[in-house]
Symmetry: C2
Subunit: 253 residues, 2 copies
């Protein structure tokens, strides 16, 4: 009979918050600081094993996460709560394990995911903020929000997002289903763009934001977003918005 204290192979799922400011992104790299490497190093210290973390997806250098997810398999008797406590005491301040649980062995943070929600923050204010400046993109001139909202409306549904894909990121296909996309204004001139989809291409949200900002600046008309989508041509879309405005808010299973 097996008891709770026996070491056995388990699949752990973690929900992870991080401030991406000082990281070169999620993925482990040879020399630069990454979130994956920090957590894998802490896991190795706790379990005495080399553990591989499977994230729901990469986030790029400077991008934040309120609730990134990652799973890993480990032969251990440590309970999730103790693992979470231990990791949070070992990890630096800019990474926090918010939840830890045991999931079925076939659960995979990336392949089991149904959808992801990203938020992009724009400070549309006469001056940039000093407090919280690490968490948004400052754009001084007032943006035309009605035009931007009309552009946002073109995004909903199933489309080929090849025009909004960064280079060097081969995928099986570039069709994604946008379940939700909205632009909300806060009292202090902050614009929050939230987008939920079954998956995202590399730089997709930041390229969409760069294009929406061009619409907000009157450089593109809202229906041109649709024209850009149909073109499947990256060169027709706007610039890539800077990373610090982007935050992975939720992964749904």
């Amino acid at each position: 009979m097996e008891t709770a204290s026996c070491a056995r192979n388990r699949n752990f799922l973690m929900i992870i918050e991080y401030d991406g400011t000082a990281f070169h992104g999620w993925q482990r790299q040879a020399s630069d600081r990454s979130i994956q490497q920090e957590i894998e190093t802490a896991l190795a210290a706790m379990t005495g094993q080399k553990v591989t973390l499977f994230g729901s997806g990469r986030t790029d250098a400077g991008v934040h996460a309120l609730a990134q997810t990652a799973n890993f398999h480990c032969l251990t008797r440590i309970m999730p709560r103790d693992l979470q406590n231990g990791l949070n005491s070992l990890l630096p301040d800019d990474i926090v394990i918010r939840e830890c649980s045991i999931v079925p062995m076939d659960f995979h943070a990336r392949y089991t995911a149904k959808s992801k929600l990203y938020r992009y923050t724009i400070f549309n204010t006469p001056w940039p903020p000093a407090i919280g400046r690490q968490y948004g993109w400052w754009i001084r001139a007032p943006l035309d929000l009605d035009a931007m909202r009309a552009g946002v409306g073109c995004l909903i549904g199933v489309h080929d997002f090849k025009a909004f894909e960064g280079s060097g990121s081969p995928r099986q296909h570039t069709i994604r289903n946008i379940m939700r996309a909205e632009l909300n204004v806060q009292h202090d001139g902050r614009l929050l763009f939230e987008i939920e989809a079954d998956g995202f291409l590399r730089y997709m949200v930041r390229n969409i934001i760069g294009t929406l900002v061009m619409i907000g600046q009157g450089k593109l008309a809202p229906p041109q977003l649709n024209t850009i989508l149909i073109s499947r041509d990256r060169r027709s879309a706007g610039i890539t918005a800077p990373p610090q405005g982007l935050c992975l808010v939720k992964v749904t299973y």
Copy 2:
């Protein structure tokens, strides 16, 4: 006849936002980085004069401000808008001049002030945040908010706050008028304590917060806040809450 382009002695008022994380406080110091020194250096570069900045009051190391105020006299033909633009391009990212205007020569940011509003942020969550961790005090165990609110009620009105004054800060007297004090809970476990008074003693808000947290932890009963006030004894009050939760939100004239 004087024209707008003539240099003459003017009194400028600025509203200043800063992220206090990397400063040793407002006041100019011999070697450490201060907000006053950064702005005075930028003003000297712009005007070619040695300028002294009069702040509404000092903020301590690590304390933030959304709207600190400061005035300075300067013989210059520069207009406020150009001064603001120039300063913001010279200043580091963690200081922003939000407004700049000309005020009467007898205006003094400190002595003309009628009241000041401070906010203190507590993260009362199972884990500290990673994003925005620079802007609050994390307290893990749930606080008794009703008890804390009862304590807050004792603060309103005119009292002698000697028990809540930090050492080494001689004042003419320690009586202050608290016009408003309230504790609000946000959906994400953030507690915002806002307090407005005709003036504050050194460490007064942070010492009040330290005492309120002891009430929230059940270590003190709410009426004991009144007992501490009457005692005029610093040793009877709670600890000094850490600086990063504190923010100067407004100075009223």
